[in-house]
């Protein structure tokens, strides 16, 4: 059996490699330095010892100042990484992200640019409740100038993080708490996964599930079960949510004629709406069933595990949606 690596180790390695290569790669965030234990989820463990406190800066609880400082350092030619401990906390730094990081390249006519990464984590299923669990990617996808990335496995996490740091535009890098322990075959050092390129996580011919992040695991599980029923499901892991790999998605859905867009984020006004709409525009007349969307419920994320499980996209519901698409009679 080949060597394995967890998602936590993979992200840490990607940052470590980038910091070793370029002094302009710095890390700012709450509790990220050695003195504070290397971050709440230990993503920055060992980096202070190697690169010092001037490059691994534990910050006050000041998200505007963290993101703003990364914007400024990026303008000066650095490649800073901001750790926003949990995705809901981006709300207090939205001005810096939306009005500044995203727009300075455009508003300056290309004279300046903001090569920075905002790492953050989230996830439903750990009982963190309404202000520590949201997937907010659709907000950022609506803003021109931001790239949004989320890995579903450790190897991709490493490769996408390297690519995100190397990117000359701001990247929101969304991790999922429930995925940190996932193991992949070790991809080895200097592994890059290009931004904007989806992967076909499983090939199939009857229906395409387009998804990203943790729900890729659900989709693969469902695809395995439905194979026993004779339904062949193709699973696309977008990896980059925006701008997404529309070519790969379109080719797949043209082949299968059916699509389900699945995400953990609330369904209403989610990225699924955009993807479904674009499929409609490209493939109207070729679709064998309407494109379906599956997402989280339209409420705050509840705390109680029983409610969380009722809130989150349910595996049975995903399987039912695939069956409904395959059996669609119009």
């Amino acid at each position: 059996m080949s060597a394995q690596i967890t998602m936590t180790q993979a992200i840490n390695r990607a940052i470590d490699e980038a910091m070793a290569e370029d002094e302009g790669v710095i890390l700012l965030g709450e509790d990220v330095a050695a003195k504070q234990g290397g971050g709440v989820f230990k993503i920055s463990a060992g980096l202070t010892e190697k690169y010092g406190e001037s490059r691994v800066r534990a910050t006050p609880i000041s998200e505007q100042a963290i993101v703003g400082a990364c914007v400024g350092a990026a303008l000066a030619g650095f490649r800073p990484i901001a750790e926003i401990m949990l995705m809901n906390f981006v709300t207090v730094a939205m001005d810096q992200i939306v009005n500044h990081a995203a727009k300075l390249r455009f508003m300056s006519g290309g004279q300046t640019h903001v090569p920075m990464v905002i790492r953050t984590t989230t996830g439903v299923g750990v009982g963190f409740g309404g202000q520590h669990s949201d997937m907010l990617e659709a907000w950022f996808a609506h803003v021109a100038g931001l790239k949004i990335v989320t890995p579903s496995n450790a190897a991709d996490a490493q490769g996408l993080m390297r690519a995100a740091i190397a990117c000359n535009d701001p990247v929101i890098f969304i991790e999922n708490i429930l995925c940190y322990g996932l193991k992949s075959d070790d991809p080895g050092p200097n592994h890059f996964v290009p931004l904007g390129k989806a992967s076909i996580a499983r090939e199939g011919s009857d229906c395409t599930i387009v998804t990203y992040g943790r729900t890729v695991l659900d989709a693969l599980e469902i695809a395995g079960k439905l194979a026993d029923e004779g339904i062949s499901v193709e699973v696309i892991d977008l990896r980059t949510i925006a701008p997404y790999d529309e070519a790969t998605v379109t080719v797949s859905v043209e082949k299968t004629g059916r699509a389900i867009v699945l995400h953990e984020a609330v369904k209403q006004y989610g990225t699924g709406a955009e993807i479904a709409s674009r499929l409609n525009e490209r493939l109207f007349g070729k679709l064998k069933a309407p494109v379906a969307r599956i997402g989280g419920a339209f409420s705050a994320v509840p705390m109680a595990n029983a409610l969380e499980q009722a809130w989150i996209p349910n595996k049975d519901a995903i399987a039912d949606a695939v069956r409904a698409a395959v059996n669609w009679k119009g």
């Binding site: 400024g72 000066a76 500044h100 390249r105």
Partner: protein
């Protein structure tokens, strides 16, 4: 103790920068009055000298972050007039090819890294520029300009604390023009002066008459020297006046008559002129400087008028590094 003397060449430099700001503002107001330009314009009448003296204390390579009411800062820092005029007019020959406008003037060659349209947002960004200089050891300092109105938004407090925590080479220049938009200082802030807030962050703070060229220059120079020497940030509160309201054409009848009279009496331009004469500059010498600047303004206005409009393809450029699809 701040020095009360000034080098004569430095004084000439401050005068030239001040008048460059003043004559540009005059030119813009005349273009707007005669209908040759129709854009949102924030006149900087009254704040010319604050910027001129502050920017004269910086090196050309030092960084500046300012606001949408920051034309005086940009011009005093050295942004060339032709592309500045063209940008404000929304032309392809502008600093930002017409995509930023007066609220987002950017010109890295002269250190003008960000002009923000959001009150207070420049301060955290200035910290980042200064952090890069600190890590690189490049000796640059960063100045960030903002008004008294910006000192009640969270970004100010987060940035002040972080700057002092890390002893960043940054100068926070609060140009206290006594109004945040239409709200008078006493109606938005309970402390008597902004500089008292420096103490809350353990930061050096200085209060200065921004219309006193010598005091303003020497105060800024001392803060710049401290920052460059690695001794950390300074909050400067420079008192000044906003003589023509929040934006060009805006009603400012909310300003009481005694305030208007006080402003008129403190006009920095005649005061600086007198200071120059006191330092043995002649009327003729000063007139030559102004006449030369006026010729530059005419040329810049003409450059802007003749510059082509930006094409629609610009919308797809600079969203990302790679041009986006139509």
């Amino acid at each position: 103790m701040t020095d009360t003397t000034i080098d004569r060449d430095k004084l000439r430099d401050i005068y030239t920068r001040t008048m460059r700001v003043a004559r540009a503002d005059e030119k813009f107001r005349s273009l707007l009055m005669t209908g040759k330009l129709a854009v949102i314009y924030y006149t900087v009448r009254g704040q010319e000298l604050v910027s001129a003296a502050a920017m004269a204390a910086l090196e050309p390579s030092d960084y500046l972050v300012t606001t949408y009411r920051g034309q005086h800062d940009q011009i005093a820092k050295g942004v060339p007039l032709n592309p500045l005029f063209a940008e404000i007019a929304g032309k392809a020959g502008g600093t930002c090819r017409g995509k930023g406008g007066s609220m987002h003037i950017t010109h890295p060659e002269t250190g003008v890294m960000v002009t923000t349209g959001v009150v207070g947002s420049g301060l955290p960004i200035a910290n980042g520029l200064a952090l890069a200089s600190q890590n690189r050891g490049d000796g640059k300092v960063t100045m960030v300009c903002f008004g008294d109105g910006a000192t009640n938004i969270g970004a100010f407090h987060e940035a002040m604390n972080m700057a002092q925590l890390w002893k960043l080479p940054v100068i926070f220049l609060c140009q206290n023009n006594r109004y945040g938009e239409h709200t008078a200082f006493a109606d938005h802030t309970k402390v008597d002066s902004i500089v008292t807030r420096a103490k809350a962050y353990g930061m050096a703070g200085v209060h200065v008459d921004g219309n006193d060229a010598i005091a303003m220059y020497n105060t800024t120079k001392a803060a710049v020297d401290r920052a460059r020497a690695g001794e950390g940030p300074t909050l400067i509160e420079a008192m000044c006046y906003r003589m023509l309201g929040h934006f060009f054409g805006a009603d400012f009848s909310y300003m009481p008559p005694e305030h208007l009279a006080e402003m008129a009496a403190q006009d920095p331009l005649p005061r600086l002129r007198q200071l120059m004469l006191d330092h043995q500059f002649t009327e003729a010498e000063l007139d030559v400087i102004v006449a030369d600047l006026d010729a530059q303004m005419d040329a810049a206005a003409e450059y802007a008028a003749n510059s082509p409009l930006p094409g629609p393809e610009e919308i797809r450029k600079d969203v990302f590094e790679e041009e986006i699809a139509a």
